[in-house]
Amino acid sequence: MHEYSLVQSLVGRVEDLVRERRATAVHRVVVSVGELAGLDPELFRTAYDTFRAGTLCAGASMELRTVPARWACPGCGREIPRGAILTCPACDLPARLSAGADEILLETVEMEVP
């Protein structure tokens, strides 16, 4: 249940931005979640909806963008199929994970500024 602690970090970051920009309201936050980031998007949404009450994010909807995981050979670029052994059969190199597939990023915050 680390989703709650992640939401806490998210809301904290948004509140910092609100103060920096002297915003009067937050309308929307956009978060991207990698498939291998260790976060369940549905649980994260539930945690967000529970936690945002009483914070500056109370009126802000959250858009979650999921980033699929793709593994490929760093040498020849060959894609490693889902579920396969993560070594390139041709080059014998360990596969590399696609960008963002193991990250949780706060992408955009839409806010009202005076």
């Binding site: 992640l6 970090s9 980031a37 070594t87 706060l106």
Partner: protein, 301 residues
């Protein structure tokens, strides 16, 4: 726009952030990592399910290498300091981190635990995470490497069920291998699963009870220690680091009281941090390098 016409309306602006939600944790983790590197301490994040045998593994590590290295640990649990007490008894100075409802350790908890704990004199510092195969994988603590304990009783498909944990592992210790004759577990199948979730699947089979495989584990630790920034030392740092580390080890082996060793630790700590202060910049290249060969791939999130 509306500020110019004076109607008092606000305008809606999208602010691009593109920043990790855990950027705050990562900053503290980087700070921890610098501390460990500066003191030449090999810090490891030991993870695994509850009951995977993490504490028993550390007890066995003390038996296998305690005479050679100074080991220390912080040990995370929701409640009780049982693990820390077990480790103390095994000769590993330890501190409990009770997380309450927290399902994982984060960098700040580890940082706070370092205060009042003589970690700087250690050769290997274990961060025994909360027993959990999900959440701990998400939080960087500042460790040099992730070690995951997976016991043979947990089922062959554990790696496939918890890919995030194993993806981030630099080493998997397959524990309780003395039980294999009594189980219908196919180790080859466990290995196959690991290779499908870990790009570099490094696995050592161990038994804390019989001591089997502990020599290979100690060799792994040795290799990791040798690849620490100070030990491999780019240029300068090398000559500086070595005498320091040795002096420490010797003094402490002879010291009997914790108070005694603590004082020493302090004096030396100053020498480390300030003396080579300028060096810290030099070392950065080296440190970064070592991290990328070490845990860079999983922490480069």
């Amino acid at each position: 726009m509306c500020t110019t016409c004076g109607c008092g309306d606000t305008s809606l602006v999208p602010v691009d952030v593109h920043e990790k939600i855990l950027a705050g944790n990562d900053r503290v983790a980087a700070h921890n990592r610098e501390h460990f590197a500066a003191a030449g301490v090999l810090a490891l994040n030991l993870m695994g399910s509850p009951g995977a045998g993490k504490t028993a593994l550390l007890e066995a590590t003390a038996r296998a290498a305690g005479g050679r290295w100074r080991l220390g640990a912080v040990s995370g649990d929701l409640a009780t300091d049982n693990d820390a007490r077990r480790l103390e008894k095994a000769g590993i100075p330890s501190k409990a981190i009770t997380t309450g409802q927290g399902c994982h350790l984060d960098a700040q908890l580890v940082h706070d635990a370092l205060h009042g704990f003589a970690w700087k004199d250690l050769d290997v510092f274990f961060i025994e995470n909360v027993g959990n195969l999900v959440c701990p994988a998400v939080y960087d603590l500042g460790q040099a490497a992730n070690v995951v304990a997976l016991s043979v009783t947990e089922g062959e498909d554990k790696p496939l069920k918890y890919p995030v944990m194993f993806k981030g592992a630099d080493l998997v210790l397959l524990t309780k291998c003395d039980l294999l004759p009594h189980l219908e577990v196919d180790v080859a199948q466990v290995m196959d699963g690991l290779r499908r979730v870990m790009p570099r699947a490094e696995v050592i089979q161990v038994s804390a009870r019989t001591g089997a495989g502990m020599d290979a584990w100690v060799r792994w630790l040795e290799a990791r220690k040798a690849s620490l920034p100070r030990a491999t030392g780019a240029v300068h740092v090398h000559s500086h680091a070595h005498p320091h580390v040795h002096a420490h080890a010797h003094e402490h082996r002879h010291a009997d009281g914790t108070v005694h060793s603590h004082e020493h630790g302090h004096e030396h700590a100053h020498g480390h941090l300030h003396g080579p202060g300028a060096e810290e910049d030099h070392r950065h290249g080296g440190a970064d390098h070592a991290h990328s060969t070490g845990s860079g791939h999983d922490h480069g999130h």
